[in-house]
């Protein structure tokens, strides 16, 4: 796995002089130019670079927006409208940023489903996956706090509801919530600290993305077959994957552009264009789409768990566990085979999991009553069943299809499943 560090070939003496003293250029050369990537990566492998691209877009648009935005409960809404109306290209920057969050989550979710399908979290890539889960958590915190900043009705009430989740903690819950707010309601102190954190966290995400790439390049990329490839099945990252990534980026930008230019408000609730009113809750509280499945799980727990955990705390625990369980995934999955291509049973459970996630997303936007509630509970059950029961058991009882030895040698006869290192 360990590659040799190659010095970049320079034509310019100046670059060589710098690189001899500070080998960043050679580092980039090793990781972005000659990095040996599997030659059989499909388009699902594009989403990683797209997520990275969106992080950069969010930081760049965000920094410029921060130059025009005013983090003050009295002025925040007005300053956003000033950006929309008076600042040159302000409407473009804001729509890019607001929809950028959606595109970022969209890329990351597909990226994660890809990892789940091809077993990219399995040894030796456990840490790579776990760093990814940290990135997801940081993204969620950043996105939530960013949504509060325009200080519209939904901003305000989202802040109210989410911060109140912490009041479910026994004994100290209320104290913690007051501390989060910096007052006795969500107010100006809350807005200002959210702003500071919303500006800070993306740079921490950036650092984790760096670690993510470091870990990836240590172990090498997984591939659709999930087998360990030899050097002859790998190709240099540049130009093959740089060009393929740019082509994927073009397609992604067409979608992003469609949102920004022709449906910029399609993913936000209209009521957020009304300034925050602490005395009146909108009839329907709906989070952003990327939180909906988790929100559905939060609301699915309307009963006390085992008579000792009250429903409110139970819902919060379930919601947080739904992310935390991902940390243990590398060890919950007992299968020796990575790729679902060779796992006839897992494949079905995987697609059911995807459908279940979509259903939970839909239910998260519906009132938690009647059938919606029952379905949410079933969906939540399957979500956890998938990780905690199906993953461990399936690995033991499933008979995987024979794995190929390498890319160039197709499956001949029944080769033994190759044990994952």
């Amino acid at each position: 796995m360990q590659r040799e560090f190659v010095k970049a070939p320079f034509k310019s003496g100046v670059l060589k002089w710098i690189d001899d003293r500070l080998p960043v250029l050679s580092w980039a050369y090793n990781e972005l130019v000659i990095y040996p990537a599997p030659r059989n990566l499909n388009y699902w492998w594009n989403l990683g670079s797209l997520a990275g691209f969106m992080l950069v877009v969010q930081i760049v648009t965000g920094v410029v927006l921060a130059m025009h935005y005013t983090p003050n409960a009295e002025m925040a809404f007005d300053s956003v409208e000033r950006i929309m109306r008076d600042v040159n290209w302000g409407w473009l920057l804001r729509y890019l940023h607001a929809n950028g969050a959606s595109m970022f989550f969209f890329a990351v979710y597909i990226h994660m489903f890809r990892g789940l399908y091809y077993g990219s979290y399995k040894a030796p890539r456990e840490l790579l996956w776990m760093i990814g889960v940290v990135i997801l958590l940081l993204m969620m915190a950043t996105a939530f706090m960013g949504y509060v900043l325009p200080w519209g009705q939904m901003s305000y009430w989202a802040a109210q509801v989410i911060t109140n989740l912490f009041s479910a903690i026994p004994l100290v819950g209320d104290t913690i919530v007051t501390w989060l707010w910096g007052g006795f309601v969500v107010g100006n102190p809350t807005l200002q600290r959210f702003y500071a954190l919303h500006y800070l966290l993306p740079f921490i995400i950036f650092a984790f993305v760096f670690l993510h790439i470091l870990a990836l390049h240590q172990t090498g990329s997984n591939n659709p077959l999930g087998i360990d490839l030899t050097a002859k099945d790998k190709i240099p990252f540049h130009p093959y994957y740089t060009v393929k990534d740019v082509f994927g980026l073009c397609l992604f930008l067409l979608l992003y552009g469609a949102l920004v230019f022709y449906a910029p408000d399609a993913l936000v609730v209209p009521i957020n264009y009304e300034p925050a009113n602490p005395l009146q809750t909108p009839l329907h509280i709906v989070p952003e789409w990327y939180f909906l499945p988790f929100y559905a799980m939060l609301r699915a727990i309307n009963f006390d768990i085992l008579w000792i955990i009250p429903a409110k705390l139970g819902g919060v625990l379930v919601m947080f566990s739904s992310i935390l369980v991902l940390f243990f995934l590398p060890w919950l999955d007992t299968s020796k085979v990575r790729s679902a291509t060779f796992r006839p049973l897992y494949k079905w459970f995987f697609w059911l999991f995807v459908a279940n996630a979509l259903m939970l997303g839909y239910l998260g936007a519906q009132p938690p009553e009647g059938w919606y509630l029952t379905l949410s509970q079933l969906g939540t059950a399957y979500y956890f069943l998938f990780f905690l029961v199906i993953m461990p058991v399936l690995g033991k009882i499933e008979r995987p299809r024979p794995l190929p030895e390498s890319l160039s040698e197709p499956v001949l006869g029944a080769a033994q499943p190759q044990p994952a290192k």
Binding site: H68, R82, N88, L92, I235
Partner: protein, 182 residues
């Protein structure tokens, strides 16, 4: 590492690929460069700032000999209702004596009204002399307390380190008693 076809094998394709390569990366570069513009331009003055870029001043209450300061685009603008002596003094000065030669006629659209930006052209201090009783320097105009530049009654630099005469804002007389600056 998979073998990439090189040399003669790919030879006939080379020209087309090189051209395609050039076009591809160039177009991408052009797109990226164009994308930069909204970010840069967003830092220029916004529409609400530009809307206040002109200031109208009512001249009626300003008496002969009086000087007032008005704010235009955040900067002090001196409006001086000059006395006949001040006009005479400004016009009689030979141009050779001036560090930055400019006839008074070129500095005042109407002789009795001088409108200048009240920022010393040296290092940006606001010269004294606009209020009654303030030091006006050796030429009866303005005196910059920071580094001792003297300006005459037409706002021209006469002594001291300032390189230029006081700048003139764009202005027009909307009527005999109203001037629009900007």
């Amino acid at each position: 590492m998979a073998e990439a076809k090189t040399g003669a094998q790919a030879g006939e394709r080379t020209t087309r690929r090189d051209f395609l390569e050039l076009v591809a990366w160039t177009t991408l570069g052009v797109g990226a460069a164009a994308t930069l513009w909204p970010f840069i331009d967003s830092l220029n003055p916004a529409a609400d700032t530009l809307a206040l870029a002109t200031t109208e001043v009512d001249l009626e209450p300003i008496e002969v000999g009086q000087r007032v300061t008005v704010v235009w685009r955040g900067k002090p603008v001196f409006i001086s209702h000059r006395t006949p002596e001040e006009i005479e003094q400004a016009r009689a000065t030979p141009l050779e004596e001036l560090k930055d030669p400019e006839p008074d006629e070129a500095r005042a659209q109407r002789p009795e009204w001088l409108v200048v930006i009240g920022i010393c052209t040296h290092l940006g201090c606001v010269p004294a002399g606009n209020r009654a009783g303030e030091e006006r320097g050796g030429w009866g105009g303005w005196f910059c307390p920071c580094h001792g530049s003297h300006y005459d009654t037409a706002g021209r630099i006469r002594q001291g380190p300032a390189p230029r005469n006081l700048d003139l804002p764009p202005y027009t007389f909307v009527s005999d008693t109203v001037v629009r600056i900007g």
